[in-house]
């Protein structure tokens, strides 16, 4: 399935039926099937290629890819995923005048597409996200039949689709709608009132004020909002784990000091390996492991290293005297700034753990306690 943002954020009622029993446990007949030694990998790749014709056959005939005929051959449509819903919407769920193919299975059904191209003057591809189908059928040179879609500007090159964009692409009338009032302003997401990360960023900003900007490599979590005003404290967020490793890379390349912030939960997911690497090379970086006792951003799940972060850091080889715990609170601000400066000045790996519970989970817990007392 090709997951796109809108698909992931949509729900609907479903019909349920009886649950199937779990498959029997069975190990592969070929016991080295999953051992990708080069010799084996080459064999497996041949096997994969050999199965291609049967997959193509399946794609044409399984019924998941549908060719639906239409009277108006001036345009043939290739549509996939949620874009199909928008196409239908524009015809009130009724008949579509153009011939179209609904793609629901890969590889692309070549024969079906050839038939559509033979019958129609032009092809339009409507797909959410990257124009993958469009690119694969129009090829590098784009000679031959005219393919319209995201590349020729019939549909915007970026951004989510919606029923109105699809209507415009097809030249259908779109409704006049109410104007946007000009007094409206944007409301970006922000850290909660009382969030510990806010106090941490204030302390980091002050401690780092004497250095030029662009040195704080962050990770993904609530603290990624530290990129926005009023903090503007972090300078990167790429994927889980790309915080400690990027700070190490920057320091190795000569950007001194380089620092990194990572949440307690993300640290266990993919921070420990990078930390070990930094320790082995004695890279002069300061790493903030923001311990709010939870995985806040995704809804307050358990954080796997709860209560063991210092032990993990020591186990990986961080020197005990360079593992510092601070409590991110306004009243501790000056002390926290001093501690951060000390560790940033240290020529080796330092870990600072700003530790204070997430205000959301804290309120939830105190409510539960109150209820239990009643």
């Amino acid at each position: 399935m090709r997951i796109t943002t809108r698909l992931a954020h949509s729900h609907s009622s479903v019909n349920t039926s009886e649950q199937k029993a779990q498959n029997q446990i069975k190990t592969p007949e070929d016991s080295i099937q999953y051992v990708l030694l080069p010799s084996n990998a080459r064999k497996r790749y041949k096997k994969l290629l050999a199965s291609q014709p049967s997959l193509e056959e399946e794609s044409e005939n399984s019924g998941y890819n549908k060719f639906v005929d239409g009277k108006d051959k001036s345009l043939g449509i290739i549509v996939s995923g949620i874009a199909y819903n928008y196409l239908l919407e524009n015809f009130d769920g009724g008949e579509i005048p153009f011939p179209f193919i609904k793609i629901s299975q890969y590889p692309l059904p070549k024969k079906m597409i050839e038939k559509l191209c033979d019958e129609c003057n032009e092809i339009m591809v409507i797909e959410e996200g990257y124009p993958l189908i469009e690119e694969s059928i129009s090829g590098l040179l784009g000679r031959g039949i005219k393919v319209r879609g995201r590349f020729d500007g019939s549909i915007p090159r970026d951004g989510e689709l919606n029923p109105n964009i699809v209507a415009q692409a097809l030249g259908l009338e779109t409704l006049q709608s109410n104007p946007v009032s000009d007094i409206i302003v944007g409301r970006p997401p922000s850290l909660c009132d009382g969030c510990p990360h806010a106090d941490t960023f204030r302390a980091i900003n002050e401690a780092m004020a004497e250095h030029s900007k662009g040195r704080n490599f962050s990770d993904i979590g609530c603290y990624t909002l530290g990129a926005l005003p009023p903090y503007q404290s972090i300078n990167s967020c790429v994927d889980m784990g790309a915080s400690i490793t990027m700070a190490k890379g920057a320091a190795d390349a000569g950007l001194l000091p380089s620092i990194s912030v990572i949440g307690d939960s993300t640290f266990t997911h993919s921070g420990i390996t990078g930390l070990l690497d930094a320790v082995n090379d004695k890279s002069p970086i300061t790493i903030f492991i923001l311990d709010n006792y939870t995985t806040a951003m995704t809804g307050g799940q358990f954080s796997p290293a709860n209560g063991r972060i210092e032990e993990i850091c020591k186990g990986v080889g961080v020197e005990a005297e360079h593992i510092r715990i601070i409590e991110p609170l306004k009243k501790n601000h000056n002390d926290n700034v001093r501690i951060i400066k000390e560790e940033v000045a240290y020529n080796g790996v330092s870990v600072i753990i700003p530790r204070r519970e997430c205000v959301v989970t804290l309120t939830q817990k105190s409510k539960e306690k109150k209820k239990a007392k009643q």
Binding site: L88, P163, S177, N178, V180, I183, I184
Partner: protein, 191 residues
């Protein structure tokens, strides 16, 4: 029967609960429904909205086309105004008047309300005040739902059932508080 509804507010104001109540009620009476919402980062004080579509026929698009919504239900006035381009020419806007001010450049509240009132089909209600009088300040969202209830094309009793289902896990007090909030909103509308 077909209703296209925009539910709007600020992260944390309980718009997901409004959607869930309408959702449970629609499933109970066997309607088709599609819902699409913006979660995630926006939960922290950002703008959140949900597209909610109900119909007795199968629904195609997960998103409501611009200018086709029958209803805007908003727990925050500026958020109601934000989605006006979604509303159709016969559509109703039902909104809380208590602003949620967590940005420095929030416009003058009176201006926001008067912009909303330019649309004749509006219901503006201080849901926070009503919820406070009921001693359950967190149910302002359900007060708004109560105001909107006559426009949903769903029986009132089905909404009550949905509230019992949704909040049952949190205990009888929470269920009763929300039932009272729904009723207060409904009665405000009838006044």
């Amino acid at each position: 029967m077909k209703k296209d509804i925009i539910i709007a507010g600020v992260g944390g104001q309980g718009i997901v609960s409004i959607a869930a109540v309408i959702g449970y009620a629609s499933v109970e009476v066997g309607l088709f429904l599609k819902q699409s919402e913006v979660h995630g980062m926006s939960q922290r004080g950002g703008e959140v909205y949900s597209h909610f579509r109900l119909s007795d026929k199968e629904i195609a698009s997960d998103l409501i086309p611009h200018g086709k919504a029958d209803l805007i239900i908003s727990v925050e006035p500026m958020e109601a105004l934000r989605y006006m381009p979604m509303l159709n020419s016969e559509g109703w806007v039902i909104t809380n008047t208590t602003p949620f001010i967590n940005i420095p450049n929030y416009p003058e509240v009176e201006k926001v309300i008067s912009e909303i009132k330019k649309y004749t089909r509006n219901i503006t209600v201080d849901a926070d005040k009503i919820a406070k009088v009921l001693k359950s300040p967190k149910s302002a969202n359900i007060v708004i739902l109560g105001c909107a209830s006559p426009y949903l094309g769903l029986e009132y009793g089905k909404l009550e059932n949905a509230i019992k289902l949704l909040f049952g896990r949190k205990g009888e007090d929470v269920v009763n508080a929300n039932l009272a909030a729904l009723k207060a909103g409904r009665e405000y509308k009838n006044k």
